[in-house]
């Protein structure tokens, strides 16, 4: 069994609880991957890996409803670049649906590519998006034109976190407290002696294996998603963690600075594939990223990429 079956399972049920999802990962004998991106990820639970991949590729949304999951309706995310158009199938799948797609899009180039720990990547390619849209509409499947751009252009920039409500940071025994060292991009145990400069800091409080991230500004804290918090503190010191190769249209980023969920989803839509981990360079690589998408990413994360 693989992630295809997991997506079939999720599509058949429509929605469910987080616990139900974890059980399904076990029952369906979801295959393990053989490579970890980071030292931190050793022993990373398989169900988390499955969740993240389904979420990144826009198949299933988690925590949308009462800490559960719900499958996304089938959508073709269309990307136009360099005189060609590509439509990536996202969301729910079933055997009949796939059969219809194969049948109705016979005039187009249909690519079904297996991928580690992900459902097969199903793409339609043509020179123009018009033909793809026409064919897909006949199937009754939804379309999202210019999907990466549509997502990125609607994302608020990372510094908007500053307007989020302040919240009390955890204290007491049992909490492991670490601070992100922006120079070395590593987590270091936070000592009691606090820095007096006004620079915002990202703190990670871990208890029972569950991390909470807080941006500490002065004496107050803002609870934020971890990845957004990282780019927030990196923004303040103009630390570049992303690079872009125009020739290969690849966006590279260090694994610890993996982009936030929606940004990463937009980047994945460009090629239809999740990030590839290069073990030699120890970098995550996003492929087929147009320059304007990089610019939008740069805008959203406040990173100097180009």
């Amino acid at each position: 069994m693989n992630a295809n079956h997991l997506l079939f399972w999720a599509s058949a049920l429509g929605s469910g609880s987080w616990h139900q999802f974890k059980c399904a990962v076990e029952r369906l004998h979801f295959e393990d991957r053989h490579q970890e991106e980071e030292e931190d990820q050793k022993g990373f639970p398989l169900y988390q890996l499955a969740r993240l991949n389904l979420q990144r590729l826009g198949h299933v949304e988690f925590n949308g409803r009462e800490a559960g999951w719900q499958v996304v309706p089938p959508v073709f995310a269309i990307v136009e670049q360099e005189g060609r158009a590509r439509a990536v199938l996202c969301g729910a799948r079933s055997e009949p649906l796939l059969a219809h797609v194969r049948e109705a899009c016979s005039g187009l180039r249909l690519l079904e590519t297996p991928c580690d720990a992900c459902p097969d990547i199903i793409c339609l390619e043509d020179r123009e998006s018009g033909r793809i849209e026409t064919a897909v509409k006949c199937l009754g499947i939804l379309i999202q034109p210019s999907a990466p751009e549509a997502i990125l252009v609607n994302l608020p920039p990372v510094e908007s976190l500053i307007h989020w409500p302040r919240s009390a940071m955890p204290f007491g025994e049992g909490w492991s407290k670490e601070k992100l060292c922006v120079q070395t991009l590593s987590w270091q145990r936070e000592t009691e002696a606090r820095r007096t400069s006004g620079e915002p800091e990202l703190l990670r409080f871990t208890r029972f294996g569950r991390p909470l991230y807080f941006i500490r500004i002065g004496t107050s804290g803002i609870q934020v998603p971890g990845q957004m918090g990282k780019f927030f503190v990196l923004r303040s010191i103009h630390h570049r963690v992303m690079s872009y190769d125009r020739h290969s249209a690849e966006l590279r980023v260090r694994p610890i600075c993996r982009p936030p969920l929606f940004v990463e989803r937009a980047l994945c839509m460009c090629s239809g594939f999740p990030a590839f981990f290069d073990p030699e360079q120890k970098l995550l690589i996003y492929r087929d990223i147009p320059e304007h998408v990089v610019q939008l990413t740069s805008r959203a994360l406040r990173q100097e990429i180009l």
Binding site: H5, F8, W9, S11, A12, L13, H19, K22, C23, V25, E26, R27, L28, H29, F30, D32, R33, H34, G43, P45, Y47, G58, H59, E61, G64, Q70, V72, P73, P74, V75, A77, C90, G91, A92, L97, L142, I143, Q144, P145, S146, A147, P148, E149, A150, I151, V153, N154, F208, G209, F262, R265, M269, E291, H292, V294, Q295, L296, S298, R299, L306
Partner: protein
Amino acid sequence: MFWDWSALLLALVAVVGCATYLFLVKHRKQSQERRDVQLPSTDKKSSAKGETPAASATPQRAEPAEHASSEPCVGTGAEPLASNQQTCDIPETTETILLEEKPTHHPQEPTGHDDEKEFTKVSATGILDIGQEIIPSSVESHRESQIAGEPPDERPVGCTLESDAGSLAIHAEEGQPRADEAPSAKQFRKVETADVVDEEPRGADIPKHESEEGGLRGQRPVATTHAELVPEQLVTASRPEPQTEKVGASSEQETSAKGDLPETRRGEEVKEQDHTTAEPMAEEQAKASAGAIAPVRAPTADDGSAVGSEQKSDTAKKQTLVPMQAKAPKSRTHNAKPSKKKETRKQPSRTRAEESEEDKRLLAKVPETIEASEGHRPPRPPQPIRYRPPSQEPVTVPQPSRRRQPMQEVRQRSFDLTVRLLFQRSGHFRVGLLPQRGDDAPEEIALGPEGNSRTVAAVHDGYYEDVYPEDISTLLVDGISWEGRTESDVLGYWTLSGRDIYVLTTHNDLNGFAQATRLKIGREHIVLCRNSLLALVEPILHQVSCAGFIKLDESQGAPAGWTAIRGAQSERKVIQGIVPTNAMRVKTGPEILSILQPEPDLEIDLQGGIYLQQATWLHGFPPRICVSGDLQPEIKVFIDGNSAVVEDDGSFTNQGYDAVGEHTVSIPVANTSRTYRITEGEESWIPWDAHGLTCGQLCGPLLLSSEASATPRAVVVPTSNSVILGAEPGDIAYCPRIRGPRQVGCVTFHAVWAIPYDAFGCDKKTTTIRLLSARRLVKVQRRKVTGKEAARVIAWSAAILNASRKGLLVDTSDPHAPVLWKEYKSQARSLWRMLKK
């Protein structure tokens, strides 16, 4: 005259004789009455039931039960005075004993008893005083302890435990007689015998069942048993040591309960005792003082060795006596004094601390009866144990080590740790431990050895996620017992029995290969065994027809010193376990090899497929119907009543087995069946608002607008043309500024034109009006527009007119663009005029 005198003398003699006779009769009767309170059988019953006297006796009968045999004078609160008066008639012996003992105890020698001197003094003056002074407090304290259900606070240190002879002295002293009235040993013996054997209990004080259980009513099992076991020289000892009787109650009780000690026998013994003289009695007492009677007081040692064996060591005596000390009531405190004397004499260098140590040591050897009587025992964490195959000898659990007990009550639940092997894509594998999860267990727990626990989350209804300890190779051998807890509670202990061979098999609900009890015919397995046993395991696997297996060593993920054996790789499957096909019996080698004996029972397995819930599979992904066990060719498998055929992969199918609906698989020969359902999955998926973004909701890659009919889409335009116009007046969008040659705008309309944001400020030589997609203008109906809509219409018209006024050229890459632009310009002008009016 002579005759007169003779007659007178005879008459006098007769009178004296009668008086003597009457006195003896009277004394005997009184002795009998006094003995009613002693009831030694009560103690025996208690001990025979494995209960301490304090625990078994009710408050009403506690006094006779506790004080009967040892303290005749102080048996009941109301009677001691009369009893003492009776016993005061027959003294002497006690004093003799005490006087003999006195010199043995040096006055300066620390005894640990401040009132020891006083005791000696009191003993010499008479037991009536003792009874009056000591009885109330001791009895009262004992009563309190009984009511509270606890042993008395004050331990009778060195009581009967330390010196049996000391106890003898006490009993003799308390129970007996003064020298001036009946100094003869014969009389004393008669009294003793009568006290022990012949007196009748006062039935009102004794529940009927007690006398019945202890034997015949009126019998004194303890005394008779003692008499039987020590017929002659130790009669004295038989009465005065009730604690010994309790300890040795098992054999005594048995004797009396069987009723094999009839009255006649007792009478004979009495006769024998009557023939003894004072000198042997003194010798006996001397022996008793020297501890020679100790073996008698310990008639039933733990190991049930011969009762009364005088060869027994002092240590052995103490071992049997110590438990009674632990339960000895407070009322016996005063007994400790002489016994301490004896102990001091025998072992003068022994301090109280040493005695305490000795007590602790001996308490550790307390027989199970004592522990059993405690009722509630504090929970103890289990110790890792080694696995032994069930068909062999029973598991002997070693004594648990001392571990920290939680402050709160521990829910002493035990859960399993299951060994699981997961293959990875590269062919490597990992061996981990899968903690079992209880029904009401929390989602996350901290689990692991003390001080090194880790948090594990539930991954399944019945399991938490895998744990990969670094020293797993050792843990697999030695076994594991880990504490699992939440923030506040200890939930229980997760254990794994250590062994040298593990059989892992596929599991319906779990990924990889999980631990199983033994091999099963027809099912895939991985055998994980220590390298030292590999030479024994391989031949067995060959015999059960697991040919062509592959050994995986440490370089491929096996724990250090272990080897995983899996099946040969096939084209069909990358990872394949070994599949035994023959049943066989392992007759030689270590016991653990028996788990390699394949289990032949037939069982229907529904494997794989996409399981939805409650025995339901998704249509198109039915389960593989497999039968494990010794399936002979003549045995038929039926699906929905129709005979099934075997596929290449060993599964069973027939026509329609994967159709939507309910199906039943059955093997009539094995009287087993299973039911499953096939159902269609949901196909009606609708978009929903998952995440709120700036201009809509995001659901997967789909951007949803607040307008139901519109789908937001991004439009990529040159940086110079950052205003996007649609075909309908009012369709206008502005691209956010980003660095680079292109801008991206998000629109909910069909984008037609891209024009500069600041038409008047741009360079018209380089900037043009761009046609994004040719679309005819939407004719506007005359209607009233207000508010934002009007503002948008104005902005749309102004943008077109400003670009026109600047004289910007239309991009001619599309030949229809100039014409279309004129049409838009005309519409914008008319609208502008209309709105201006």
